[in-house]
C-alpha cells in the first residue's frame, strides 16, 4: 500500500450521464490517486464503461466536473484526454488490422519532418518502451496476424508512446489466457511502481483482489462505495456489486449418481493436423452427477464436445441412454442431449433472429409449434414468454427482441433456458458462465445443480478452476486430447489439479475412469 496522503491525480465529482430513457451514471464520484491501481467494479451494465468514456472524452456528462491535480478540466474529446495524459485500452481494441504494429502505435501521433514520416525515431522509442516493460511485440507484423494478447500489448504501447500517465484498462482480461493475464498483472504493477495511475475496469473478483489498491463499486448506475482492497474480501465486494448476499460457493448436496447415461469407448476425434485432437477417451457420465472435463484451453475439449454432439466426425462408440449413437446425426443425438455451446454467437444463437425464434431453434418442427409445415406463431410466442419469465431473460422488447441487441448475460440465459427446458437426460454445458458477472454465474450454477438433482447427467467443460472445484462432483482432466486423471473435488487441491492440467502428472491406465 502506498501512502494514504497521496493527492488525487484525477477526480471525477458527482458525474451524471443520462441516455434517453435511463441514467447510466447517477451522481458518481471517483478519486484516483497518484501511483495506485484503482479497480472499478460492477455488473454488466452498471455504468463502468460509461464513466470511463466520460473521462476519456467520448461522452459529455450532464452534471459534475472532472479535476486533474485539483484543477477543473474540460474533456471534450479523446484528443483532450490524450493531452491530459489519459490513455485507454478499450475492451474491443481500436487497431487498424492491415497496418503493422508500429504503424498502429504511431497512428495519430506521428513524428514527421517536412511531411515525411520519421519512422526510425518512432521505432527506437517503441523498442525502448517494449524492452523496458517486457511488452514483447513484433513491430513489423500486421495486426491481423498477431494474437489477441499481443494486440493488447500494442494498445498498451500506444498509451506509453503518448507518454500517458493515467491508464484506463476496460475489462482487459476478458480476452486473455491465464498466462497472459499473469503477465498483464505484472505489467500493471510495474506501471504503478513508476508512478503511473491505473483505472482497471473488471467484474472478476480474483483479479481485483490480486492487483488493485482500492476498489470503487458501481451498481445500476449508482455509486456504492470505495474500499481499500486490503480491508475487504471477495464476498463483501460481490455483495456490494450485486446488492444482496451472493453465494460465491455453489450450494449443493452430495451427488447421488444413478445409472450410466452416457458411455464413451475409445472415442477419438481428428484434429486439423495429423494427430487426433481427442484420442481414445473412455468415460461414463451418470444420472444425478456433474462430471467436469477440466483442462487448459486448447487441449481437445472443443473437439471432444463437437465430436460428441455430432458437429464433427468421431470414431469409437458413443452410447446415450442405452442407444448407440456413434453414427447418429446432430438431430438424432439431440433426442436425449441438450447442448449449451461454447461459442454463443457462433453456435448458440441466430443473432439476427428474434428471441422467440431462437427459443425454438431445435423444436420448430415439433407438433406443438407447427401444423402442416406452418409455424404456429401464437404457440411460439407463448412458449418464449414462458421461458423468458421462468428464466428471467431480460431484453428490450421481450420475445420480439433481436438476439443481437441483447446483453451477453441475457443471451446466455436465453440459451440456457432453451436447452434446459428441452428436458434431456444429458446436459452438455461448455463454459456456461464465460464472460458473465457474479449474479448471472450464481444463477446458472444454481440451475445446473437443480438439473442434477432432478436426475440429469451434466457434462461440464470449464476452464475456470474455481468453477471446476466448486460445481463438479467428479473431475476428469484432459491433456492433449487424452484423459490423464480422475479426481474427486472434495479430496483434491487446486495445485494437484493444476499439475494434471499442465501434463506434469498423470494416472496410469485403469486407475482412473
Amino acid at each position: 500500500m502506498r501512502t494514504m496522503e497521496a493527492e488525487n491525480i484525477i477526480e471525477m465529482l458527482h458525474i451524471t450521464k443520462e441516455f434517453p430513457g435511463i441514467i447510466a451514471n447517477d451522481d458518481i464520484t471517483l478519486q484516483l490517486r497518484h501511483g495506485e491501481i484503482h479497480a472499478l467494479l460492477g455488473e454488466n451494465g452498471a455504468g463502468k464503461s460509461t464513466l470511463m468514456s466520460v473521462l476519456f472524452g467520448l461522452y459529455q456528462p450532464e452534471k459534475g466536473e472532472i479535476r486533474k491535480n485539483g484543477q477543473v478540466v474540460k474533456i471534450n474529446n479523446p484528443n483532450d484526454a490524450t493531452a491530459l495524459g489519459i490513455g485507454m485500452v478499450h475492451q474491443h481494441f481500436k487497431l487498424v488490422d492491415v497496418f503493422t504494429v508500429l504503424d498502429n502505435i504511431i497512428l495519430g501521433a506521428e513524428t514527421t519532418k517536412m511531411g515525411f514520416l520519421q519512422k526510425k525515431e518512432a521505432r527506437a522509442k517503441v523498442e525502448a518502451l517494449s524492452e523496458r516493460y517486457g511488452l514483447k511485440v513484433d513491430l513489423d507484423a500486421r495486426v491481423e496476424d498477431i494474437t489477441v494478447g499481443m494486440q493488447q500489448r500494442v494498445e498498451i504501447l500506444k498509451m506509453l508512446y503518448r507518454d500517458n500517465e493515467i491508464l484506463i484498462f476496460d475489462e482487459p482480461t476478458a480476452v486473455l489466457t491465464p498466462q497472459e493475464i499473469e503477465e498483464l498483472m505484472a505489467t500493471m504493477r510495474e506501471f504503478a511502481k513508476e508512478g503511473k495511475s491505473i483505472l482497471f475496469i473488471s467484474h472478476k473478483l480474483n483479479e481485483i483482489m490480486e492487483v488493485s489498491d482500492r476498489v470503487t463499486v458501481l451498481r445500476k448506475g449508482k455509486y456504492i462505495g470505495t474500499v481499500d482492497t486490503k480491508d475487504t474480501d471477495k464476498q463483501s465486494l460481490s455483495n456490494m456489486m450485486v446488492g444482496r448476499p451472493v453465494q460465491l460457493e455453489v450450494q449443493k448436496d452430495p451427488a447421488k449418481p444413478g445409472e450410466v447415461v452416457l458411455d464413451l469407448k475409445d472415442f477419438s476425434v481428428k484434429g486439423h493436423h495429423k494427430k487426433d485432437a481427442v484420442h481414445n477417451v473412455s468415460l461414463q457420465a451418470r444420472a444425478g452427477e456433474i462430471l467436469c472435463i477440466a483442462g487448459i484451453d486448447g487441449n481437445g475439449q472443443t473437439e471432444f464436445i463437437h465430436g460428441l454432439t455430432g458437429l464433427e466426425k468421431s470414431t469409437g462408440t458413443v452410447t446415450l441412454c442405452g442407444k448407440d449413437i456413434s453414427h447418429a446425426t446432430i438431430k438424432g443425438r439431440g433426442e436425449n442431449m441438450s447442448h449449451i455451446p461454447e461459442d454463443r454467437h457462433k453456435h448458440g444463437l441466430v443473432l439476427d433472429f428474434t428471441l422467440e425464434q431462437n427459443m425454438v431453434l431445435q423444436r420448430f418442427q415439433e407438433p406443438e409449434f407447427q401444423h402442416m409445415g406452418f409455424i404456429k406463431q401464437g404457440a411460439v410466442r407463448q412458449y418464449a414468454e414462458k421461458l423468458i419469465a421462468q428464466y428471467d431473460v431480460r431484453s428490450g422488447q421481450g420475445p420480439i427482441t433481436t438476439a443481437r441487441s441483447m446483453s451477453g448475460g441475457n443471451q446466455q440465459k436465453a440459451i440456457i433456458a432453451r436447452e434446459l427446458d428441452r428436458n434431456k437426460e444429458l446436459v452438455v454445458a461448455v463454459q456456461p458462465t464465460r464472460g458473465l458477472d457474479v449474479g448471472a454465474i450464481e444463477y446458472i450454477h444454481g440451475q445446473l445443480v437443480k438439473e442434477r438433482d432432478e436426475g440429469k447427467a451434466i457434462l461440464l467443460v470449464s476452464l475456470e478452476l474455481d468453477e471446476v472445484m466448486s460445481l463438479s462432483d467428479r473431475i476428469l482432466v484432459m491433456y492433449e486430447g487424452e484423459i490423464v486423471g480422475e479426481l474427486d473435488p472434495k479430496k483434491t487441491t487446486v495445485q494437484e489439479l493444476g499439475l494434471y492440467m499442465a501434463g506434469a502428472k498423470r494416472q496410469k491406465e485403469g486407475e482412473g475412469a
Binding site: 468514456s53 406452418f374 441487441s405
Partner: protein, 422 residues
C-alpha cells in the same frame, strides 16, 4: 408508449427505397436538362418535355394537333408495363429468396435461359393436335420451372458440399447455360424458317396454339401485350412471402442463411437447405422465362446468345430496392418496368433516346445500395424526435423489481464497446 411511424423498420425500408427512386429520377431529369441546354437541336422546350416524360411518361398519350404532349390514362402503356413486369417480379423474387437465405444468386440469367429452353421445347414440341393446348401450356410452364430449379441446384450443391462461393459457380453456370441453349436451338426444328428474314428466331409458342390466357386483362388494357402472367406472378410472390415467413421450411432456410453454424448446431441440415434455397431461386427464374415466352407474342432470338439476357441481372435491383421483401418485389418489379415504358415514350415522343432510363435505373440501384445508410439516418431522426431509446423500455416479461437500468444502453449508447457485434 406511442411509436412514431419512423420508428418502424418497415416504414424506414419503404422510405429509403422511395428516396433512392426520387434521387434516380432527379438525376435523370437533370441529365435531360443538361443535354437539352447544351444541344442546339434539343433546346429548353424539348428538355422540359423530356423531364415531364421522366416523371409522367406512363400517362403519356402522344401529341395533340398543336404538337404539345398530352397526358391521360394510357391503357396500352399500363398493359405493357404489367406484361414486362411479370418476368422482372419473378427474377426479383429469385434473387430475394436467395438473399434472405444468405446467398447471392447472380445465376438468374442462366436459370432463366434454361427455363426458356425447356419451356419453348415443350410448348413447341408437343403438338396441340394430340394434346389439349392448356395441358401443353401447363407442362411447358412446369418444365421451365423445373429446368431453372435444376440449374439453380448446381451452384447450391457446389457451395454446400465443396464450399465454393456461389457467386463464382453462378457465373460459370450462366455461361454454360448460354452456350448450351444456343446449341439446343441451333439446327433444331424450332427455328423460325417460314419468315425469311427471321432465321435466328425460334417460333412464337402461339404457332403451336399455346399461349397464356388473357384472363380478361386485355379488355382492361386494350392495345397492350398483357396476359394473365402478371396475376400468376403476383400469386407466386404471395406464395413466396408465406413460404419465407410462415412456414418451417422458410424458418430453416433463413436460419441457415443467417448463421449456418447455429443451424447445424440445432440439427438443421444446412447442406440440404443451401441446395434447396438455390433450387427455389432457380425455379423462380425459370418461371420468369416460362411466363415471358409463353405469352405467345414474344420471339426468342437465340443465335447471338453468347451474351446473357439482361433480364436475369435486372432481378438484382428489383430485389435490392424491395429489401428482399417478396411483397415489395411486386411493386419494385412493376416500377422497374414502368421505367422501361418511360424510356419507350421518351424515345418515340422526343429526340432523346431510351438510354436515359438506363441511367436512372443505375442511379436508383446505386442509391439502393446505400439504403442501409439512409435507413440508419432515418432511424437517427426518429430517435431524436421521440427522445426515447426503444431498447430502454422495460421488457414486458421482466419482473418489476429490477428494471436493470443500464442493462441495454451500452449496446446502443457506447459505440466504442461495439455491443455484441464482432
Amino acid at each position: 408508449m406511442k411509436h412514431s411511424l419512423l420508428e418502424k423498420e418497415g416504414t424506414r425500408s419503404v422510405l429509403a427505397s422511395i428516396i433512392s427512386i426520387l434521387c434516380g429520377l432527379l438525376v435523370g431529369a437533370v441529365l435531360i436538362l443538361i443535354m437539352g441546354l447544351s444541344n442546339d437541336t434539343l433546346g429548353p422546350t424539348s428538355a422540359w418535355e423530356g423531364i415531364r416524360l421522366i416523371f409522367g411518361g406512363l400517362f403519356a398519350t402522344g401529341r395533340n394537333g398543336a404538337g404539345a404532349l398530352t397526358f391521360g390514362f394510357n391503357p396500352s402503356n399500363f398493359g405493357n408495363m404489367f406484361f414486362r413486369a411479370t418476368p422482372l417480379i419473378l427474377v426479383g423474387l429469385s434473387v430475394a429468396v436467395a438473399y434472405k437465405t444468405g446467398l447471392f444468386n447472380i445465376g438468374a440469367p442462366g436459370q432463366y435461359l434454361l427455363g426458356t429452353a425447356a419451356s419453348l421445347v415443350i410448348a413447341l414440341g408437343i403438338p396441340t393436335t394430340s394434346v389439349p393446348a392448356p395441358v401443353v401450356w401447363l407442362l411447358s410452364f412446369l418444365g421451365g420451372v423445373a429446368a431453372g430449379a435444376l440449374w439453380g441446384c448446381i451452384p447450391g450443391l457446389v457451395k454446400a458440399f465443396l464450399n465454393i462461393n456461389e457467386v463464382l459457380a453462378c457465373i460459370m453456370t450462366n455461361w454454360i447455360a448460354a452456350n448450351v441453349v444456343t446449341w439446343i436451338f441451333d439446327g433444331s426444328v424450332f427455328r423460325n424458317t417460314t419468315e425469311g428474314t427471321k432465321t435466328a428466331y425460334v417460333y412464337k409458342t402461339s404457332v403451336n396454339g399455346v399461349q397464356t390466357a388473357k384472363m380478361g386483362l386485355d379488355k382492361l388494357f386494350p392495345g397492350s401485350q398483357i396476359n394473365g402472367g402478371i396475376l400468376i406472378a403476383v400469386v407466386i410472390a404471395i406464395g413466396v412471402y408465406v413460404l419465407m415467413s410462415k412456414t418451417t421450411l422458410g424458418y430453416q432456410l433463413k436460419a441457415c442463411g443467417s448463421n449456418r453454424h447455429a443451424a447445424r448446431y440445432a440439427g438443421i441440415n444446412d447442406k440440404r437447405n443451401i441446395v434447396l434455397s438455390m433450387a427455389i431461386a432457380g425455379a423462380l427464374s425459370g418461371a420468369a422465362a416460362s411466363l415471358y415466352w409463353l405469352s405467345g407474342n414474344t420471339e426468342f432470338y437465340w443465335s447471338t446468345y453468347q451474351a446473357l439476357p439482361a433480364i436475369g441481372f435486372n432481378g438484382i435491383p428489383v430485389a435490392l430496392l424491395a429489401s428482399s421483401n417478396p411483397i415489395a418485389v411486386i411493386f419494385t418489379g412493376i416500377f422497374m418496368s414502368m421505367l422501361d415504358i418511360i424510356g419507350q415514350q421518351v424515345t418515340t415522343l422526343t429526340a432523346y433516346n431510351e438510354y436515359i432510363t438506363d441511367v436512372i435505373i443505375s442511379v436508383i440501384v446505386y442509391m439502393a445500395a446505400f439504403s442501409l445508410l439512409i435507413k440508419t439516418f432515418l432511424a437517427g431522426r426518429a430517435k431524436n424526435k421521440v427522445g426515447i431509446n426503444v431498447n430502454a423500455e422495460p421488457a414486458p416479461a421482466a419482473p418489476p423489481v429490477s428494471p436493470e437500468p443500464g442493462g441495454e444502453p451500452p449496446v446502443q449508447a457506447s459505440p466504442e464497446k461495439g455491443g455484441e457485434e464482432k
